[in-house]
Symmetry: C2
Subunit: 359 residues, 2 copies
């Protein structure tokens, strides 16, 4: 029996709707497998700014450090997007959390459920069998370098910066993962232009001999963005920096049919954080149509990676698979041939999933 | 009758193979329409380093300034890609050319020829009708900011930097183009994190009221990379920075079926430079299989943009269309149903094209 304390941090937009389902999954898993999971909740992002003035209140950070894992929703609000001059922004809470918890490795598995082969804009024959695991570095790069305005506000800069130890630790994690999979690692950079990318490439090249069983290739980010769509199966484990990882993994969501299916794990020195990659999606917030499966699959990653509960994790993935096999779809993964009574909202999809899990 | 002096700069890899065909197209156009085109040739990239020690010899730059337009091939060599510590690199020649000639606007039209609807990894029903014009800023951003090593080489940084006037001039070009098309402009940035992107967004927002007939939307780069594949038709004119533009336009090549079909125009204060976006492609160099059509379409852009010869430009595009309609394909755009006698190498494809043009 495992005893675990889980902090639920719904954040903004559809975050609350989808983490509600994620938490229900945890409750059923605890019952079914005889674990004791306790829960607490905390604020981040726009809702935290509204309540406390800060996008990451100290109380939230303290609770995060005390938890065994964090179930995270999303942050962001259109109000700030359209106001480039806002000083306090929801995303600052997210970035501070990543930095403070030392979440340097963001794992984003891209795997297509067979039933969704037709939900993508990419041809099924290109997609069938695609299975990519991204390691996105999460606490460095242009996200955390110095930025400022110069010249009375008429010039602005950000600093894209990496130190060797930062590249080393994420690269080793990626090599380790490649060993347990098809033994292919692709490192993505822009070493033909950027000095930080040349450092990145040097480090990957220096570590490679320690993993002689893994085949390494290097791709420039522009070529990688193209190849990912042209031939997703050529990739297995991919390691890249924070900014390039942000772009490539969102793009790769099309391989999985929809962003609404993609889970992620952010891990490092401390508590792991598990979240959908879809973001706050204010256009559909409150409408009850958000796909909860990315949050459910984030729970599966939590059970596996933070708690080492493999069978429990597998049962969650299996339940998702069964719900899809039974033909249920949220709007984002439905297509023209989906009967309308099988197109479900967030809650109804959650209920289907929970009954599969109970079975 | 137009009198024009054209500098041919084949550069590295398949550059020479494809610009040979591009130049032949110019020769036929001159004959057919009674123009007087004169030519010269110059070195850039790896071949220039080998010959002179410099990736952009002064002589090349002088010839470029004196020309009415430059027909460009590609730069790059795997030797440097695998040696992050090389001090002199082919790409430095390309970047210096862009800066010295003030080529701040890189136009990359993404248009699918009907005949290639099946050559893409994306479903035909998603692609049909897609037609995007990218304006990539080309002389700023992290390509030209300060970069260095710190901390005995253990840390490296690059500076992502924009000034208002740089954003203004490319944004205006994009708005002007949007006016002549479907009146939709999408600006891509990462303003939820980057200060340089917030400046970018501010400038676009400030200019928008001058073009009340154009609808503007802003997308974050991660979302844009996803939407481009999910629903390419939602985009018409796209304006973005140098790095994001590099990534998005390579990715967008999948919309046009192959990178081998995409032309670009780099324009600014001085001589315009016309080049395929495909790069040096050393894996196929010297094999005679490169697709020359991107170079041919670059010639069409040159005739149109630098020389104002619209009918001539159209006849080149028409010839490409006819060759495709006749069923001819290079390897990169062939598919399983292409009969093997219609799969042509660079020269044979060039000859088909030239005879279409002569007809
Ligand atoms: C919200 C935003 C700051 C964030 C990022 O860019 O990292 C998001 O896109 C993500 O990928 O988690
Ligand atoms: C070769 C390289 C430096 C160049 C760039 O990144 O600009 C190329 O990818 C391009 O798009 O023209």
């Amino acid at each position: 029996m495992a005893k675990k304390h889980i902090l639920v941090v719904p954040g903004d937009g559809i975050g609350a709707e989808v983490t509600t389902v994620g938490k229900q999954v945890l409750e059923i898993i605890a019952q079914k497998f005889g674990h004791e999971f306790t829960y607490d909740e905390a604020l981040i992002g726009h809702v935290a700014i509204e309540a406390t003035g800060s996008p990451l209140p100290d109380e939230t950070l303290t609770k995060m450090r005390a938890a065994d894992a964090v179930l995270f929703g999303a942050v962001g609000h259109p109000k700030y997007d359209n106001d480039p001059s806002a000083k306090v922004r929801p995303e600052q809470g997210l970035l501070k959390m990543r930095k403070e918890l030392g979440l340097y490795a963001n794992l984003r598995p891209i795997k297509l459920f067979d039933e969704l082969l037709d939900a993508s804009s990419i041809k099924p024959e290109i997609l069938r069998g695609a299975d990519i695991l991204f390691f996105r570095e999460l606490t460095g790069d242009v996200y955390f370098g110095k930025r400022e305005r110069l010249d009375e506000g008429n010039t602005a800069y950000d600093t894209m910066i990496y130190s060797k130890y930062e590249v080393e630790r994420i690269t080793r994690k990626a090599f380790e993962a490649a060993r347990t999979r098809s033994k292919r690692l692709c490192s993505v950079d822009k070493a033909n232009v950027l000095e930080s990318s040349r450092l990145w490439r040097e480090v990957v090249q220096a570590i490679a001999p320690e993993y002689p069983d893994v085949t390494v290739e290097h791709q420039f980010i522009d070529a990688a963005a193209m190849l990912l769509i042209k031939d997703p199966k050529r990739f297995d484990v991919v390691v890249t920096g924070n900014l390039f990882g942000d772009i490539l993994t969102d793009e790769a969501s099309q391989i999985a049919g929809s962003m609404g299916m993609l889970a992620s794990a952010s891990v490092g020195d401390n508590t792991g954080v598990y979240e959908p990659i879809h973001g706050s999606a204010h256009d559909i917030t409150g409408k009850g149509v958000a796909n909860p499966l990315a949050s459910v699959l984030s729970v599966a990653l939590m059970l596996d990676i933070s708690f080492g509960l493999k069978a429990e994790a597998e049962s969650v993935v299996k339940a998702v698979d069964n719900v899809l096999k039974a033909g249920y779809r949220t709007r984002d993964i439905a297509n023209l041939t989906t009967p309308s009574d099988k197109v479900l909202g967030t809650e109804a999809m959650g209920n289907q999933l929970l009954s599969q899990l109970r079975a």
